[in-house]
């Protein structure tokens, strides 16, 4: 086994030092009836070349060289070369959670920068060091609101990503959180305001709205927050397409922001690993789950960083913690940090504008289902059968929505990014013409 750095001579020396005859003696104290009596039924160990070959072969069985118009929470954005250059450094890749601050300043400093940029993008006061992904950040935000308000019910818009809602339902079912949904407006595709107003009550801990929503429509967060706040509920703003924040007004009226950062340098990778984020107003800080990095000084008076406010966390508070989360998505958050640095203040805005322009180019050529303002995704009437014709031209078309929204039978959700080529968009437009 090539990852084991010992010679048999060294093993012998070590066994002698321990005072046992063989490696098997190291577990001879285990009861006989727990031991595995046969070798594991796995293929024989393989060389590096064979492993590379195996995964190339699997990769070749997937779509290769297709133009792709799928979004729905996972976006095809270009990954600057700097991203992999940075995260391939062993000092970032192979380090642990930075509990030992004196020898973890690299990771800690980067997380502090990440938290800062998350606040700048979202307009919130504080942001944590990352969550697993956008979908699991939603129930964590809901539970946070539940603790902050001492109420036990949340209302979530049907225009929030269906799989985020499913995740919330699972957590809610076992976590004592009652979940209600409110509808979207059939014309605009934005939240149906009367439907929300009719459902929000004095038991509502939070109202959860995504923007741009699952249909790509930009929501009026201020209005939704007003409705929630009038009944003493919090407003949780969810985002799945982080690039939109380059152009959209930050959700300053929200109390908690739960987002997905895949767009910032995570390859689609069949759905993960990505990174989630929670950000909030200062007054909810103590209810925030996850790790936080804070600024302080070292013994010589130099600026230094460390993990802080750990009394919210499981390793200190056990069952009284704000969440069970331990490992998060640090390296993916670092990728996002590098991505945000490369694009910067001007670049993120320009990137967002290119996404907007591409989507509006194709959106303008197709029969859109909703009239609300949209960023880089939009719903069209279909029909779904056109996808099969597109597939023959090596184009993966829009996402059929009927599986999530029976009332949208035939409708397709399309996404365009800076990587969408005009010629492919023209072929899509032609196919639906």
């Amino acid at each position: 086994m090539r990852y084991l750095p010992k010679s048999d001579l060294e093993r012998r020396q070590m066994l002698d030092a321990i005072g046992v005859a063989s490696l098997d003696d190291l577990y001879s104290h285990l009861p006989k009836d727990v031991l595995l009596n046969a070798p594991l039924n796995l293929p024989a160990g393989q060389s590096e070349y064979e492993i590379v070959d195996y995964f190339r072969a699997r990769g070749a069985e997937n779509a290769n060289g297709y133009a792709n118009f799928l979004g729905a929470g996972v976006y095809h954005h270009y990954r600057p070369a700097l991203v992999d250059a940075v995260v391939s450094r062993g000092e970032f890749l192979t380090s642990y959670t930075p509990y030992q601050a004196e020898i973890s300043q690299g990771t800690l400093t980067a997380i502090f920068e990440f938290q800062t940029m998350m606040c700048q993008l979202t307009g919130m006061d504080v942001a944590n060091a990352s969550m697993y992904d956008g979908s699991s950040a939603v129930p964590e935000a809901a539970l946070m609101a539940m603790r902050a308000t001492s109420r036990d019910r949340v209302l979530i818009a049907r225009s929030v990503h269906p799989e985020y809602r499913e995740t919330l339902r699972t957590y809610g079912r076992f976590g004592g959180l009652e979940i209600g949904e409110f509808d979207y407006d059939r014309d605009s595709g934005a939240i149906d305001v009367p439907s929300l107003e009719a459902r929000v009550t004095d038991r509502t801990a939070a109202v959860i709205v995504q923007s741009p929503n699952f249909f790509g429509i930009v929501e009026n967060i201020r209005q939704a927050a007003g409705i929630a706040h009038a009944r003493g509920a919090l407003l949780i703003m969810v985002f799945a397409e982080a690039v939109s924040l380059g152009l959209l007004e930050p959700p300053r009226d929200a109390d908690i922001v739960a987002g997905e950062l895949q767009s910032f340098a995570s390859a689609p990778s069949y759905g993960g690993p990505f990174a989630g984020i929670l950000a909030c107003k200062e007054k909810f800080l103590r209810q925030m789950p996850g790790r936080l990095v804070g600024e302080t000084k070292d013994a010589n008076g130099n600026r230094a960083f460390c993990l802080t406010l750990a009394t919210r966390e499981q390793h200190i508070r056990r069952e009284k913690a704000t969440s069970n989360i331990c490992t998060n998505q640090a390296l993916v958050a670092l990728m996002a940090t590098v991505f945000m640095t490369v694009y910067g203040k001007e670049g993120l805005r320009e990137l967002a504008r290119q996404n907007l322009s591409k989507a509006h180019y194709l959106g303008g050529k197709l029969k859109r289902r909703f009239s609300g303002p949209y960023f880089n995704e939009f719903v069209i009437h279909g029909p779904e059968s056109v996808n099969a014709a597109l597939e023959k031209q090596k184009i993966i078309g829009g996402l059929p929505l009927a599986r999530f929204y029976p009332e949208l039978e035939g409708a397709l959700l399309f996404c365009c990014t800076e990587m969408s080529r005009r010629e492919d968009m023209d072929r899509v437009a032609e196919a639906f013409a």
Partner: protein, 491 residues
Amino acid sequence: MIQKVRSHITQNEPLLFDLSSPGKKGYQLPELDVPDTDPAEALGASNVRREIAGFPEVSEVEAIRHFTRLSTWNYAIDLGLYPLGSCTMKYNPRVNELVARTEGLAWIHPYQPESLSQGALEIFAALETYLAEITGMDAVTLQPAAGAHGELTGIFLIRALLDARGEKRAQVLIPDSAHGTNPASVHMAGYEVVPVPSNDQGMVDTAALDRLVNEQTAAMMITNPNTLGVFEERIRRIAEMLHARGAMLYMDGANLNALAGIARPGDFGVDVMHLNLHKTFSTPHGGGGPGSGPVAVKKVLEPFLPKPRLKREGGQWRWNYDLPQSIGRVRAFYGNFGVLVRALAYILAHGGSGLKRATLDALLNANYLRKRLEPYYEIAYHAPSMHECVFSDRRQAARGVPTGAIAKRLIDYGFHPYTVSFPLIVHGALMIEPTETESKLELDLFIDAMISIAKEIEQDPELVLKAPHSTRTAKVDEVAAARKPVLKWQP
């Protein structure tokens, strides 16, 4: 004497925000091949932000230097032994990084047609099969994103099964040596935590357990080997005790690195467990993630696993959503696929006999360390060690030097510290897990460092108490950080 390291110059580096100057750029977008859309027109002026105030503006060369300089301030496995107990910081093979970046794996969308995703689905299927074989369980879900997420999923499964049986049980038993995530997960699943004491061997006190298991017990969550590195020798008896009273046995698989190839949880009575692919299966910790926390179950819990599940139909893999008893999703999509690829590459490299070899070397390294350090540090429990060993700081604390100070002094010797003050049942714990991927040379340097520190404590305790002395960042004031939190840069 400090043998492993000597000081070298490291670069200072300001924060990104202090590097910024208006108009500096590190990017260039392609020229737009479609008409430009005016944001205010398309979105409404009130929806468009003026700027991202404070956002960095730096050049490409400053960006790469920034992050490279920061990286040199970190310790890492690539630099040496990382003996954090229960964290299993082992070598991360680079071929795993390479294959995870395969174009046809990294650039596939989770909603693309299943017919165009067969290679990805085959990877899920292979990994599920292999993990079931390694654990001796019947079915596996790869959906959970990390160990604690897997714990939560596993406890949800137990609750769903009990709900389906119409049984209202309110408690989960957890040994006092358990990881903090265990009680936190149980609490999030709506259960009350009941602690189980350990006996003088560091194992579960089965007499106490016998008194605690009753018709309110939904499950017991056990870590085996436990956080002391001790195998729970009465594990079969424990499982019988629970099963006889209608409760389930959950195993925290954080320490599976001690068992792979020699014993299987499924064979010793475990009903449900999670695995940490970023521990036993060597996917990189990355400074705190991403991880992956698959959950393996016995047949009885399979109908409740998160959806979707893989199904073979007409010679093709597909995702099956028609699972009426499923607890539902615990996250969007199917799991941390890129992490799963790396873990599968690890298993393929080892094969069955290689996994066993790795386990044996992990036991060898831990027992060698224990034997060599026992004359200098007090072993917490005399029971045999598996893959990690836990000492108490009793002897050193008597001289005024607690485990936390010894840990900081290790940094001066060029090592990352062990896990400090955990498990909680040990007085000033020093929890050491070397893993199998350490050479004898590296272990001997570590042992020499620990012995040298023990001697320093006898002769000059102040030297140890004031450590670290040689780091670019001196001792960090964590108390001040928590008293008045500064959590972001401000102009």
